[in-house]
Symmetry: C2
Subunit: 190 residues, 2 copies
Amino acid sequence: MGRWEPNACGRLAQAALELFGERGYEQTTVAEIAQRAGLTERTYFRHYPDKGEVMFAKAGALQERLVAAVEGAPESAAPIDAVAAGLDALAREFDGRGEHRERQAVIAANPELRERELTKFAAMAAALAVALRGRGVAELPATLAAEAGITVFKVGFGRWLAAPGDRELSVVLRESLAELKAVTCGAGAS
Amino acid sequence: MGRWEPNACGRLAQAALELFGERGYEQTTVAEIAQRAGLTERTYFRHYPDKGEVMFAKAGALQERLVAAVEGAPESAAPIDAVAAGLDALAREFDGRGEHRERQAVIAANPELRERELTKFAAMAAALAVALRGRGVAELPATLAAEAGITVFKVGFGRWLAAPGDRELSVVLRESLAELKAVTCGAGAS
DNA sequence: CACCTGATGTCAGTCGCTGTCATCGCGTAG
DNA sequence: CTACGCGATGACAGCGACTGACATCAGGTG
């Protein structure tokens, strides 16, 4: 057993989620987060670059999943179908566990965290575009397909969170993608 | 003539743009911006809510233009065509004047400003969705069409800025929208 | 046993941002 | 004409996010 309790990162994330949920993001200081985790403010900033990043620790892994799914899609698949495969992979990350809801509630309640979330989505879109380019897709369609895919995820994820029923995320995402196709191509499906 | 020089807002914006361009965003303090404008730091925060907002003073007007164009589109127009009309209106705001380039260069050089820019785009997308709903479009297609339209603007605007030639922004946007349609609907136009 | 390493604590300092009060010129009611 | 209110600004104190520098203390390694 080491000199310090293990998993400092995780304890900080847990403490932050609790405190943000209890008092709100702005009303919580980094020193308080660190104290609840049994650490000091300075140590917090050794694990996370700023106050908000603690809420997005898993974003990197999510992005890797997305890219891997796109890279693993059949070569014959059109760009938009490769994107759809990536969305399916993302959906699998979220279905079942309900721990996201309080996390999303905290993010939704604070403009600064929502802003940060947008940059995480932007990073996912950029990575998705790179993955598509790796499949031989040209720059412009790769970027647009990637942005469209992330848009579908954003919108679908929001609907899935707001929905009282327990429809699977993958279903909601497929529905949203279909609606996007309908609306962009003029076949008004609503 | 008043006790103070007029147009404090504008002087602050000008000073900020200059200093951010000269030394970079992070290396510039709000006190320095205020000093160059002949004011104090405290007064800066009476005109802008935070350090970064000074770079986005015109965002509100731009959003109003977009919404007005969508509301003014013919009733018979499909959602995506109303969005296209909005994009055209945005393009008219940018064609001709070259003052955006240094502004965009400053934004592009700093992650915090890029993050802020994303929220401005998100606000435009939200307003666009509201405008579409006002035309009788249902929630899901309105949101998706709005997000798709803003995506087209983001991507097209980036290409327009990067392009050495002087193609009109409206043309680039139309091209990007067409490519989005192609990529979402499976007709690979590469 | 001495040394190095890595995670942490401690302290001082900068800067973004806010609340509070004072200042000052201008317009206006009386 | 004067006194008063008003609006924009300055001056000052203070909080909290974030950083750099240095000390501390386990455990592993020679």
